[in-house]
């Protein structure tokens, strides 16, 4: 079986940044797997997701479903659903929850094409699936942190992507919201979706298929059993 996400000896740097953020990172994630990236802050975990999304120039090999990212950025992004890091909407954000979810479909239409009613229904179904149906018309900035993360997950799902990139999905959530979101992520994996997530918490660590420790822009794949996190950090050198 071919990997759906693949990095091989990837080097990448942010414009204006000091030095490379990735220094020969490598990973392979296969269909239906849950992969996790752990490591200290600034190690390059988010950068790995951004390379897959085509947000950053890179050297080396970065492929999504066999497509080289920098050669096919549009096709690659259509295959990926993305939940960005620490994105919390302030209360005055002029966007309703349903509109945020529908945004995931905008790229499938030309500017002159009207979005059909089916897109609204599809977005609403995604919210129903994540238990947010009654919040569909709420301003997204008035949802709780956990609900906002779920709305972003719904947005990633309506793209119809089979691969999800989740950047710190549990950040700033209370234990109840974390457990709720962890269930949702595991449910998606059970449905056959491939998930690559950056985490700092234990929530889904033991359920992962693959875990990479990221440090100084390099990746090291860990062997089972995964966790607990403090032990991994001690072993890999904090």
């Amino acid at each position: 079986m071919d990997p759906v996400l693949e990095l091989s000896e990837v080097w990448a740097a942010y414009p204006g940044g000091r030095g490379a953020a990735l220094r020969g990172a490598s990973l392979r994630l296969f269909p239906g797997e849950l992969g996790l990236l752990i490591g200290p802050n600034g190690a390059g975990k988010t950068t790995i997701l951004e390379v897959f999304l085509g947000f950053l120039p890179y050297r080396g090999v970065a492929r999504v479903c066999g497509l080289e990212v920098h050669k096919n950025p549009k096709e690659v992004r259509r295959r990926l659903g993305y939940m960005p890091q620490a994105l919390f909407f302030p209360p005055d954000t002029p966007c309703r929850t349903l509109d945020l979810v529908m945004m995931g479909r905008f790229g499938f239409y030309r500017p002159w094409q009207r979005l059909p009613q089916t897109e609204r229904e599809r977005a609403f179904s995604a919210l129903v699936g994540l238990g947010l149906a009654e919040k569909a018309d709420w301003p997204v900035g008035q949802l709780s942190g956990g609900q906002q993360r779920k709305a972003l997950l719904a947005r990633a799902l309506v793209k119809g992507a089979k691969i999800l990139l989740l950047d710190e999905p549990f950040a700033s959530l209370d234990p109840e919201a974390r457990a709720d979101l962890a269930q949702a992520i595991l449910h998606l994996r059970a449905q056959g979706l491939t998930v690559l997530a950056v985490i700092h918490e234990e929530d889904i660590l033991s359920q992962a298929d693959r875990v990479w420790f990221v440090r100084d822009g390099k990746t090291a794949e860990l062997s089972r059993p995964f966790g607990p996190l403090p032990e991994i950090f001690n072993l890999c050198g904090r």
């Binding site: 940044g17 549009k74 966007c95 479909r105 905008f106 239409y109 979005l115 609204r120 018309d137």
Partner: protein, 278 residues
């Protein structure tokens, strides 16, 4: 009387329309420094024109547009936020303006470059109306045609890009149009007050409607009302036109603030109003 006031009135309405429309984007992008930087770039351009013996309005346009066009790419390349770059460009263009004025021998205080600083009711001609008509048409056409793309780029740029929207180009184009709008409005309002036309109509609209699409509809209307009112007030009360437009814009904002039902944030009780987009 009408032959005197009509070009200013029409130019003011067109500038108010474009300014209101683009102000919604400027407000959302929190580019409050943009108005200042553009105004001073245009001032430096006009001074350069006088020094080189070129038409000052043309050089004002070129420099303001150059600053607007370069903002996005410079920010992208250097990794600096647009606001920081504006903070650098602001004193630089101001200094250049004064330098060019100092280099121009025998420049009188009533020169076109200096009226660009505080505006002129009588300095506006049909050429300005023609330029502002084109700008209003392009701006309205762009925002209407790319309404989904503009909306998404203004709500969250990264999410828009991930959804397949060329958010970078959308935002750069908006910045460019903002620069053009500032340069085009300078002759009427003056560089010192031109940012009012960008921010006050949009801020007024945001007091009454929360939805970004509705702000795009209401802000240009407020822009036209405030500017036309300002031109009228200037003529009637013999006030400097920039000052009069500033007064009517502030008055309109205070009125909207006073009657704002939700102080910008919709209450949960009214969440059913204005159901999304399509």
């Amino acid at each position: 009387m009408w032959s005197l006031i009509l070009p200013s009135l029409v130019a003011g309405c067109l500038a108010g329309f474009s300014g209101g429309l683009l102000g919604v984007a400027a407000l959302r992008l929190r580019l409050s420094a943009l108005g200042y930087a553009m105004a001073h770039a245009a001032f430096a351009g006009a001074a350069l024109g006088l020094w080189l013996g070129l038409p000052p309005l043309l050089t004002a346009f070129i420099l303001a547009l150059a600053v607007a066009a370069l903002l996005g790419p410079i920010s992208e390349k250097t990794g600096l936020p647009v606001d920081s770059i504006l903070a650098i460009l602001f004193p630089l263009t101001m200094a250049l303006g004064f330098l060019f004025i100092a280099l121009t021998p025998g420049l009188p205080l009533t020169s076109p470059a200096l009226t660009l600083f505080w505006g002129s009711l009588l300095g506006v001609g049909w050429t300005d109306v023609f330029v502002l008509s084109g700008l209003a048409l392009v701006t309205a056409g762009f925002v209407a045609f790319f309404r989904r793309e503009v909306w998404a780029s203004l709500v969250e740029r990264r999410l828009a890009e991930e959804a397949g929207i060329p958010a970078r180009w959308i935002l750069w184009t908006l910045l460019f149009l903002l620069g053009a709008s500032v340069a085009g409005s300078m002759r009427l309002v003056g560089g010192l007050l031109v940012y009012i036309m960008l921010f006050l109509p949009a801020s007024s609209a945001a007091q009454l409607v929360w939805d970004l699409n509705r702000q795009f509809l209401l802000a240009p209307v407020f822009g036209v009302i405030a500017t036309a009112g300002g031109v009228g007030l200037s003529f009637w009360a013999d006030l400097p036109v920039g000052t009069a437009i500033a007064l009517t814009s502030c008055g309109l904002f205070l009125l909207c603030w006073a009657i704002s039902p939700r102080r910008r944030i919709p209450s949960l009780q009214t969440k059913g109003e204005d159901r999304g987009r399509g």
